[in-house]
Subunit: 225 residues, 2 copies
């Protein structure tokens, strides 16, 4: 079945989630981050994701903005960063994350081929709208789908169901793209075609399904038809 | 309500999960672990837990022995450890993990007070029986409860339900003890009294509930009545 619908994870896939800590660390006003920003960024992301999974297992959903703040609070404490001004700045930057350099051209190429394009993300609608607007890619996205419509985080089936519900397509017409190995595995287990963008050169996750494609970045996505 | 029933997480709480990698690293036959065993132990545990949560969210349960092997395979690849003999040895040692030094006296003191004692763990029954037998604590445990009876991992409510189903006690008669912050939070959210054994001095998890007690080790557990 040819791919008609290209669906992208947002954080880590289209948007660089480490950019907030890196950018804030360059500002002399946040010198407390200078030495520790890579560890803060790593722990922030790790806890943010852990909290989504734990809340999904326990049936204790909250929106992604809450777990983003909760993960940052853990990461700041773990790395001895205490300034509230630094917390405020890191959270501000999360609303205007940079898109990876190849993103606009890649999405434009897909639209030129007549493909449908969308984001499917744990992010809340307002976070996603902020990031899409900041990255100036709203013209090349047909839909921005948020887990808030189903009230549970990835990799629950109800999240991936949002794609078929919105586009009326079958699972095997969808290429789902994520830089998160667990998300690519989850989507593959669900029945989508999947591409894992392994920017960091990590080992593949040993889960219940494997991605169909493993890529270094998003450049070649329009060739996967 | 006085505590009648003391329930313990197993891995990390009664049994030292880092002991396997540390012990194997001392053996000249596994020199490939000498420099990297702390990273292997950390990544092994991190992935093992991630896989339990992801499988619980996606409804893709398997037993804990499978995710223990899967997590080790990821950790070995991430740290450049490739010898199959090392994999075999690390997995063998997981069946005979050391209990923390204070465990036998602490459980004996609880039994002398007439309290009920149990393990409630993600582990499969055979893994748990192996560890309990190796640590020689079967005489001071009234029950060894495994998630395999409900087919989903912690922190799902059905797992914590096993305690009341076995002992016929109410939630507020139970003290649940875990060194895993997310497990202590999960049990607190469920309605147990909880103690978090924060051996590593980590920040508290920012989740939907907080433990009632925070301890450095298990020594003072018999005083929590």
């Amino acid at each position: 079945m040819p791919i008609t619908t290209f669906v992208f994870d947002a954080y880590g896939t289209l948007f660089d989630v480490n950019a907030a800590a890196m950018q804030a660390a360059k500002d002399p006003a946040h010198a407390d981050l200078a030495a520790v920003w890579p560890a803060v960024a790593r722990d922030w992301r790790l806890k943010q994701l852990q909290y989504t999974w734990l809340r999904a297992v326990a049936g204790r959903h909250c929106d992604f903005w809450q777990v983003t703040q909760d993960g940052l609070d853990w990461a700041m404490e773990a790395n001895g960063v205490i300034a509230m001004a630094t917390r405020t700045r890191l959270l501000e930057l999360y609303w205007e994350l940079a898109a990876y350099a190849e993103v606009p051209a890649m999405l434009t190429a897909l639209k030129a081929q007549g493909k449908a394009t969308a984001i499917l993300s744990n992010g809340s609608p307002d976070m996603l709208n902020g990031a899409v607007s900041s990255a100036q890619i709203s013209d090349v996205l047909d839909a921005v789908l948020s887990v808030e419509d189903v009230g549970i985080f990835k990799p629950h089936d109800r999240v991936y169901d949002l794609v078929g519900a919105h586009f009326g397509c079958t699972k095997d017409e969808v290429l789902f793209v994520s830089s998160n190995g667990w998300d690519a595995a989850g989507a593959a287990g669900y029945g989508f075609q999947t591409a894992w963008v392994n920017r960091a050169g990590e080992p593949i996750d040993r889960l219940y399904a494997q991605p169909h494609h493993v890529l270094h970045d998003l450049t070649t996505i329009p060739e996967l038809t």
